[in-house]
């Protein structure tokens, strides 16, 4: 039986997933900037996401706002617990977001380079902090009553750094696959080379995080490695392996430019399923369940009615906005 709290958990997971994929590829563009020092290449890369980045980032606001509304207790515990990485992520997004506009307004080439670095630094730091936040949540948060009960550096562990770096690599992979879709010629060949490298790094990250997770907590271990549970969860790693192989092959092929992007998204889907298996039914692993953190029924219902109507509408017009700017980019755009 699908109750409202479960529905909200699924809806929020969906919002966060859409965020990760969409802002993932445009943060990825920033992460890939250092590999393309030429101004012309950088203009092209930025133009490939300029019409859509703002909409992509809105899913992050929905994720935060939705958590606040549907699971206020979780919001009130998680955010103070992750205070330093969250504040750093927000400031990084400030740098990155304004770089989209400021870069075109800088008169001197020197200042333009500063904004390029703001774009790079902001993108890398935002991705890293999101990964660290994920790792810090997975490894568990100390709860005291209805508040965070731990210290200020609890979030910083080898595990959270590993998830942080993995997310940076994953976003770079998404960014490279997006550029593969949007560009042609020499530039596209260079992008594919990067896509291959970041595909390897991403899969390595997935493997390491997956190997470490069961040992964080006995609950995780039982879920993944106890018999007969292992039979139910086995398809996840198998599918990851299959997707990784298909991705490798598709990046080397010439005919289907959209395929690597779809397969990379597939990898992220499997990571999400894996996360779901690890965390369910908790919102803060092993201390606060979704049910405990849930807002009252009236709050969830009021929002759910709206969300059920509005999310499909949003998906339609967001899809339309992507459709308007479809196709390969003209490298001379913006030079008129």
């Amino acid at each position: 039986m699908l109750d409202l709290t479960t529905a909200w958990a699924l809806l929020l997971a969906f919002a966060v997933f859409v965020y990760v994929v969409l802002d993932g590829f445009d943060l990825g563009i920033g992460i890939l900037y250092p590999f393309f020092p030429k101004k012309r290449d950088r203009d092209l890369m930025m133009n490939s996401v300029a019409p859509v980045w703002d909409g992509n980032e809105t899913w992050l606001v929905l994720g935060g706002g939705g958590l606040f509304a549907a699971f206020p207790l979780a919001y009130a515990i998680i955010l103070p617990a992750l205070y330093p990485p969250i504040i750093a992520m927000l400031l990084a997004l400030v740098f990155r977001g304004v770089a989209f506009e400021f870069r075109w307004r800088a008169v001197r080439p020197r200042t333009k380079v500063y904004w390029d670095w703001a774009f790079i630094g902001g993108s890398v730091l935002a991705a890293l902090c999101q990964g660290i936040a994920l790792g810090a949540l997975l490894q568990g948060i100390e709860v005291d009553g209805r508040a965070y009960g731990g210290g200020w550096w609890d979030w910083l562990t080898p595990f959270s750094l590993l998830t942080g770096v993995s997310v940076v690599c994953g976003y770079a992979l998404l960014g490279a696959c997006w550029l593969n879709l949007k560009t042609e010629g020499d530039f596209q060949l260079r992008v594919r080379e990067l896509a291959r490298r970041f595909a390897v790094a991403t899969v390595a990250g997935i493997v390491l995080v997956s190997l470490a997770t069961p040992f964080l907590d006995a609950g995780f271990f039982d879920r993944w490695l106890s018999w007969p549970q292992i039979l139910i969860v086995a398809p996840v790693p198998v599918l990851v392996a299959a997707l990784a192989g298909a991705l490798w092959v598709s990046i080397t092929r010439d005919n289907l430019d959209w395929l690597p992007f779809v397969l990379a998204i597939g990898l992220f889907v499997m990571c999400f399923v894996g996360l779901g298996i690890s965390m369910w039914p908790y919102v803060i692993p092993n201390s606060v369940t979704l049910e405990e953190a849930a807002a009252p029924y009236e709050s969830q219902l009021f929002m759910f009615v709206g969300a059920a109507v509005l999310v499909p509408v949003i998906l339609i017009y967001t899809g339309y906005a992507y459709w308007v700017f479809r196709g390969k980019l003209d490298p001379d755009d913006g030079y008129h």
Binding site: G55, V61, L62, Y75, P80, L90, V94, S299, A307
Partner: protein, 478 residues
Amino acid sequence: METIFGLDALMLARIQFGFTVSFHFIFPALSIGLASYLAVLNGMYLWTRDESYLRLFKYWLKIFAISFAMGVVSGIVMAYQFGTNWSVFSDRAGPVIGPLMAYEVLTAFFLEAGFLGIMLFGRERVGNGLHMFATLMVAVGTVISATWILSVNSWMHTPAGFAMNEAGQYVPENWWEIIFNPSFPYRLAHSVTAAYLTTAFVVGGVGAWHLLRGRSGNAGVRTMFSMAMWMIVVTAPIQAVLGHEHGLNTYEHQPVKVLAMEGHFRSYEDGIPLILFGIPDQEAGEMRHALEIPRLGGPILKKGWNGSLDGLDTVPDELEPPVAPVFYAFRVMVGLGVLMIALGVWGLAARLRGTLYDATWLHRAMLAMGPSGFVAVIAGWLTTEIGRQPFVIYGELMTADAVSPLGTAAVAASLVAFIVIYFAIFGAGIVYILRLMGHAPELGERGVRAEPGPIRTAGVTPAPQLGEGSRGAQHPAE
């Protein structure tokens, strides 16, 4: 309690929220007005096919793009700061205000963001009709966004329609009463009008700048100045009325705030004076060096010439807001409002005499008043937000009880980071906006993605060359 420079974690968190929200609000104040202005300009262009409107559209679109981006990134910070710094408030008020904020995201943020790309870059791809639709959606989105967030803010001032559960959370009972809480309609009307007025002063100030530089031959310059002056003369008096009504509503629901705004430390039996200026001394509970008009305070509060009033001396000290900042900020806002009305009348007089485009002193005054809207808006927010202290949810939850259990050092570090980065980043943004404003709108105005280059040095081009378009011919002498 652990302090840094005499400030504890609570005060630092308050300063951080006040600083980031003030900085943030500057951009929506402009974006709300500019989005509607752009929709009007684009509509006028499609209707009249007068190129000068298109020129103005492209000109202000570039400024809008920067302002909007700064509003978005500083707004994301706000969406998370409730949780990072005010976690007890978030836990307890989340069930009531969380859904309203989620609706803001679903109905407004996505709408703005989804159509912004088409508005900025899509005219050639989708055609004029759909581009106009996208422009309208962005404008509508900014107003919907203001509606939801002001409903949330108003609920914190005049909470209604809720109950409390056993976990100490405020839970919804009647959504209609929550959304349309008593102060919401007044705050919404006053704030949205403020955004339009702020934008009118920005547009008018830019127009005045170019008129003072001898560019009255530029049809775009004349059009923007004229439109702004119309907007000001109509909107400024309306805003005064709305503000007064908002004040009366505040007196009904948050009388202590109004006492602080008016500086009434003492009670009156027969006739309430209107205190114009003075130096509030909260310790002593009196207004020093007060300049006051006898009895005029009564009619303003709808109490008549012989009315009586219970002053701050009837309020327990621990429930009083800090009087001085509220008293001063309120005077800044009202003073600027009076100047705005005066400028609107002056502009109308100049228009009737046919000297709108060559009344140099009017242009100078308009230029000086260009940023006045921002100052008035921030002063207004300081009045209302400091005025509801010591509560965060008025009469329900004290600010001191709402804060996250954070260490002083952690909040101090984040506050310093916010201050340094905001001044650097948004300082640069304001420089870029001013630079765009420094060029007059020209024939063949470039799009959003065009970079600054030699063609843009409009200052050296003789004014008559810029004065193409149908309206140019009507003003050959200028």
